[in-house]
């Protein structure tokens, strides 16, 4: 299983961890102070981004520190790329 991380623990950023799997569901876990207000919206955006990147089997954790959507999408993209780079290295 290949793992990629991106982002920092600071205000308006988020830390994304992506573990790519061969099979199984796409699980997204979100931790955010904004969960009640924006949780659904963040999960939706994350799904869209992962779909765009062709990720179908993965465990994704988003530790959000009040980031805007474009930040979350960018961090997901980088985390996925790093996970895939790791895959190639093997």
């Amino acid at each position: 299983m290949m793992k990629g991380e991106a982002g920092y623990e600071q205000s308006q950023d988020c830390q994304v961890t992506v573990k790519l799997k061969k099979r199984g569901n796409l699980n997204i876990v979100l931790h955010s102070k904004m969960e009640k207000m924006f949780g659904d919206q963040i999960i939706q955006k994350a799904k869209e981004e992962l779909d765009l990147l062709g990720v179908k089997h993965a465990d994704v954790t988003i530790d959000d520190y009040s980031a805007l959507d474009f930040v979350i999408q960018a961090r997901i993209r980088t985390a996925v790329r790093r996970a895939r780079d790791g895959e190639k290295d093997v």
């Binding site: 308006q12 904004m34 009640k36 207000m37 924006f38 980031a67 805007l68």
Partner: protein, 512 residues
């Protein structure tokens, strides 16, 4: 479910609450005049006692009474916690606290509310865990939120009767002459407490600095004081001015400040003899610095600066850019020094500051007021009391008073704070009614209240990025998305009183 009535600004408010009895719905902003009530107290001798318990017993405090505190020591206040501890030890219960405001130093109230020592709160606002728990129904009675001017009015008019006022003072003599300017815990103006001293049935001065008679200057005179209680420490001066005089380098805040100062200049109000008030916080203080440069370049001398006074305003006084400062609340060490030594830095009581029923309050003479906001809506209504998660986390302060009184009331706020949109469809809690607000300045555009078309024309002429407030709202939502509103229950945890004593809005309990 309580019976509700619709007020003139379209909000539903309760018909009756325990803390108020029959609720008067908000009618309109305006100024009324009524004679100032005077009251004479007997002069006592032998006022000094060595402990708070002794003072409380001597004051005759009993179950069910109303006590008051000021918040001039803000986050550093030790007097409210110490007095409440002594009251609890004496077994007195069912008290209402009428405070000028409640800060992070007052979280002990949570326990006293749970124990039944405190059953009612009247305040300008509250923060932190106390605000969160009150928002979840900690109290059985609704909190009455009052503006600084509204509180002075309510006390003066008798809407609230204070049985015992506990007044923290950093310098007091054995007869009760006191000030907040001297001593190791000096905090500056005693503006809010001056009203309590005048109208409370019993006045207890609480000091950590008993000086030889006569204490001078006299902010509250001995004629109003029953008891002088001496304790170890009234407050932590380090915690008093936390964050108040932050010099911002944040580009968003500086952009807002620059636009706001351009609005001021374009308005034509910056001329000899103008009056000005700004709140604390990065943007407000940055506006003052822009304003200072403009005044110097154009040789303009203002009349007075008022309100909560910071060292930034003191700098302008010392440079001769204002004739005087009228100070109801002193925000930092530099300003405390100034009020102590500079005769043109003048202490002002809350009634003089903002009570709409006096024969003249300073807020009504203001030319310019710079205001902050937690939220602003498309009708220019402002919320400064509740957060987007529904919790009480702020204070009305002098916001509604100054907005109503000033010729030009400018709200400065970022369009988005973290992920929270600030310009919205409808604010959660109306604190300052839209008709009082002239301009909303954000980093992405300036919206002018449609009832002020001449100002709008001036700003457009000056080349400022003027737009409709609905455009600002749309921009905000396009960046953040539209948040899910918090889930509220049916209990009324607070009502928001407008400065004239009418109720402008109410706050319901938040359900997790």
């Amino acid at each position: 479910m309580k019976k509700l009535q619709k007020n003139k600004i379209g909000r539903e408010v309760p018909e009756h609450i325990i803390q108020m009895g029959d609720v008067k719905p908000y009618i309109r902003s305006g100024k009324r005049k009524e004679n100032y009530i005077t009251e004479s107290d007997k002069v006592y001798t032998g006022k000094v006692v060595g402990s708070l318990k002794e003072a409380i017993v001597k004051s005759g405090l009993q179950d069910g009474m109303t006590i008051s505190f000021h918040h001039h020591l803000r986050a550093g206040d030790m007097v409210l916690p110490k007095v409440m501890e002594a009251i609890d030890e004496l077994g007195i219960k069912d008290l209402t606290i009428c405070a000028s405001s409640l800060t992070s130093s007052h979280e002990c109230l949570i326990d006293y509310i749970k124990k039944g020592v405190v059953t009612g709160l009247q305040t300008s606002g509250m923060r932190g865990e106390l605000g969160k728990q009150v928002s979840r129904g900690l109290l059985d009675t609704a909190v009455v939120f009052r503006t600084h001017g509204g509180r002075a009015r309510a006390i003066q008019k008798g809407d609230v009767t204070i049985d015992v006022a506990f007044i923290a003072t950093s310098c007091c003599d054995d007869m009760g002459n006191m000030n907040g300017q001297q001593g190791p815990s000096a905090f500056g103006s005693m503006g809010y407490a001056m009203v309590d001293a005048r109208y409370a049935k019993k006045v207890v001065a609480v000091t950590d600095n008993l000086v030889d008679f006569p204490a001078y200057p006299v902010s509250i005179p001995q004629t109003l004081v029953d008891i002088v209680a001496v304790i170890d420490q009234i407050g932590d001066p380090e915690l008093m001015g936390q964050g108040a005089t932050r010099k911002t380098k944040n580009p968003v805040e500086l952009t807002i400040a620059e636009y706001a100062s351009q609005v001021l200049i374009a308005s034509g109000l910056i001329k000899n003899g103008f009056s000005y008030q700004a709140g604390t916080g990065g943007v407000s203080l940055a506006v003052v610095r822009f304003l200072r440069d403009y005044m110097k370049e154009n040789h303009i001398i203002g009349s007075f600066g008022s309100g909560g006074i910071t060292s930034t305003m003191v700098e302008l006084l010392n440079e001769g850019l204002f004739t005087g400062l009228l100070d109801v609340q002193t925000f930092d060490k530099g300003a405390v020094e100034s009020i102590r030594y500079n005769g043109n830095h003048i202490e002002m009581d809350a009634g003089t500051y903002a009570d709409p029923l006096t024969k003249g309050c300073v807020t009504n003479n203001l030319d310019i007021m710079i205001l902050s906001a937690t939220e602003v809506d498309v009708n220019f209504n402002v919320n400064v009391l509740t957060a987007s998660n529904g919790n009480v986390m702020g204070a009305l302060g002098g916001h509604p008073d100054t907005a109503a009184g000033a010729k030009l009331a400018i709200v400065v706020c970022p369009l988005v704070r973290k992920r929270i949109p600030i310009v919205v469809d409808e604010v959660q809690t109306i604190c300052t009614p839209g008709p009082s607000v002239d301009v909303v300045v954000t980093e992405r555009g300036i919206a002018v209240n449609p009832n002020n078309p001449l100002l709008k024309a001036e700003l457009v002429k000056a080349g400022l990025p003027v737009c409709d407030i609905k455009e600002l709202r749309d921009k905000a939502y396009s960046i953040t998305g539209k948040p899910k509103p918090p889930v509220f229950g049916n209990d009324i945890i607070g009502v928001v009183e407008y400065r004239d004593g009418t109720v402008i809005d109410m706050i319901k309990n938040v359900i997790d």
